[in-house]
């Protein structure tokens, strides 16, 4: 019997694989870190702040995102948005994800057929 602890770890591994694509999907319009986290959470993809905020910086340093400080009458916030290279990367990652998703559907259906 697989323990709950093992399930949690494996589920986290699965989620880790899609964190980047999930974040990119919400950055066609400029958002700041907390706003992005809320948006992902509302769409059923909660990501820990300790994972998401540094990820935005790393993606920016890789040229996937661009960012700027805005005040808009409130406290200063750093807004992130997909760069041109980021749009291209998003398209490729989306295709890869869909291909992977189809493959996994086939594999999982095959697995169900073989269950005793």
């Amino acid at each position: 019997m697989v323990t709950g602890d093992a399930y949690d770890k494996l589920e986290l591994e699965l989620r880790r694989g899609v964190v980047v694509l999930a974040a990119l999907s919400q950055l066609h319009t400029a958002r700041y870190g907390y706003e992005l986290r809320q948006s992902l959470s509302e769409n059923g993809m909660p990501i820990e702040e300790g994972t998401l905020y540094p990820l935005l910086r790393r993606l920016e340093s890789q040229g996937v995102l661009t960012s700027e400080w805005r005040t808009d009458g409130g406290p200063p916030r750093r807004y992130y948005v997909l760069s041109t290279a980021g749009h291209e990367l998003y398209g490729r990652l989306t295709s890869a994800w869909q291909g992977l998703n189809n493959t996994m559907d086939l594999l999982l259906k095959g697995g169900e057929r073989h269950e005793p």
Binding site: Y32, G33, E49, G50, Y53, R57, R78
Partner: protein, 328 residues
């Protein structure tokens, strides 16, 4: 503590660990984000933000070192894949150094009571050298045994750097398969002949002097190579017995032409027995003259080190063979 101060405290600790170029900007953003998260938490719970709430928030974010590491590409001095090997080599090396160090201390004239022996060992070969650098033994032996992990770190770091900078040259290559069980009969015959000659010369050292100087070598040269009486009467028979067993094993190998599981295991046992015996030899005199005795013992220490390495490699190889068998 005020929750804002606690967040500022945490952000300062994270920022300190970031590259200087991104420190201020990341710190400013992180503080803003954590403040916003805290306000959201407070609104959700229906009470004003307090220290406990702020503490829970930053603890969930991770240790400052972990948080900082997520902001920039990590630097691994030793590849994580090498960690277990590094740890194993470190522990084996330290154990060998400490063991040889203990043997060295035990054969000193002042090694009388166990506490003195342990104290001397601790402040020379042991870790104590680091904590008690003023002690005379520590200054003569440097940093005890800790040079070994240091050397390993440097070696593993250089290997990791080489793999990262020239991945094409560091790619894995299959080894040419060697038949390790094949026995070189002439080689083993030569070893037997050399061992017998060595024994004859050890017990009749004058022969070598007569051979080279035609019987006209100085009397002091004969005295220098004279064996210690205690060695001849009590320890030499054991030396002959152990060597005879080893040579008998080689003779069997010459006849059979191949190593077999039993002969491999006997060889490992004899190698460890040889180590133990040679270590025992260090405890007493071998040659009557002090300079010859010290030189011989220095060679014996080198032989013990080589034997230990050899025995370790053979044992590891033998256990590896067993590991490839199907488990029950």
């Amino acid at each position: 503590m005020n929750p804002d101060d606690l967040i500022q405290n945490y952000v300062d600790d994270v920022a300190r660990l970031l590259p200087r170029g991104q420190r201020r900007d990341v710190a400013f953003e992180l503080r803003a984000l954590l403040t916003e998260e805290l306000a959201a938490k407070a609104a959700e719970s229906g009470r004003p933000a307090d220290e406990a709430m702020a503490r829970e928030l930053v603890l969930a974010f991770g240790r400052p070192a972990e948080a900082a590491a997520r902001y920039h590409p990590g630097l691994n001095v030793i590849d994580p894949a090498d960690s277990r090997r590094f740890l194993r080599l470190t522990l084996i090396g330290l154990a060998v150094i400490w063991l040889l160090g203990l043997v060295d201390i035990l054969r000193r004239p002042l090694a009388t009571d166990p506490l003195t022996v342990l104290g001397t060992w601790w402040t020379s070969y042991g870790l104590g050298a680091l904590w008690w650098p003023g002690a005379p033994p520590a200054t003569s032996y440097g940093l005890g045994a800790l040079w070994w992990p240091g050397a390993l770190v440097a070696g593993f770091a250089a290997a990791a750097w080489f793999r990262r900078s020239r991945p094409e040259r560091a790619a894995w290559e299959p080894r040419r398969r060697r038949d390790r069980d094949h026995v070189n009969r002439f080689g083993y015959l030569a070893v037997i002949a050399a061992a017998i000659c060595g024994l004859l010369l050890l017990f009749n050292p004058g022969a070598i002097l007569d051979f080279f100087w035609n019987g006209r070598a100085a009397a002091s040269a004969y005295r220098a190579l004279a064996l210690d009486e205690d060695f001849t009467s009590s320890r030499a028979p054991w030396l002959v017995a152990l060597l005879s067993l080893q040579l008998a094993l080689y003779a069997v190998l010459i006849v059979r032409g191949r190593w077999q599981p039993l002969t491999r295991r006997i060889d490992i046992g004899l190698t460890f027995a040889g180590c133990a015996f040679l270590t025992w030899l260090l405890g007493g005199g071998i040659f009557a003259a002090e300079p010859a005795d010290q030189t011989a013992k220095a060679f014996i220490v080198l032989i013990v080190i080589a034997y230990l390495i050899d025995a370790g490699v053979k044992l590891r190889r033998e256990l590896g063979r067993a590991a490839y068998l199907p488990s029950a």
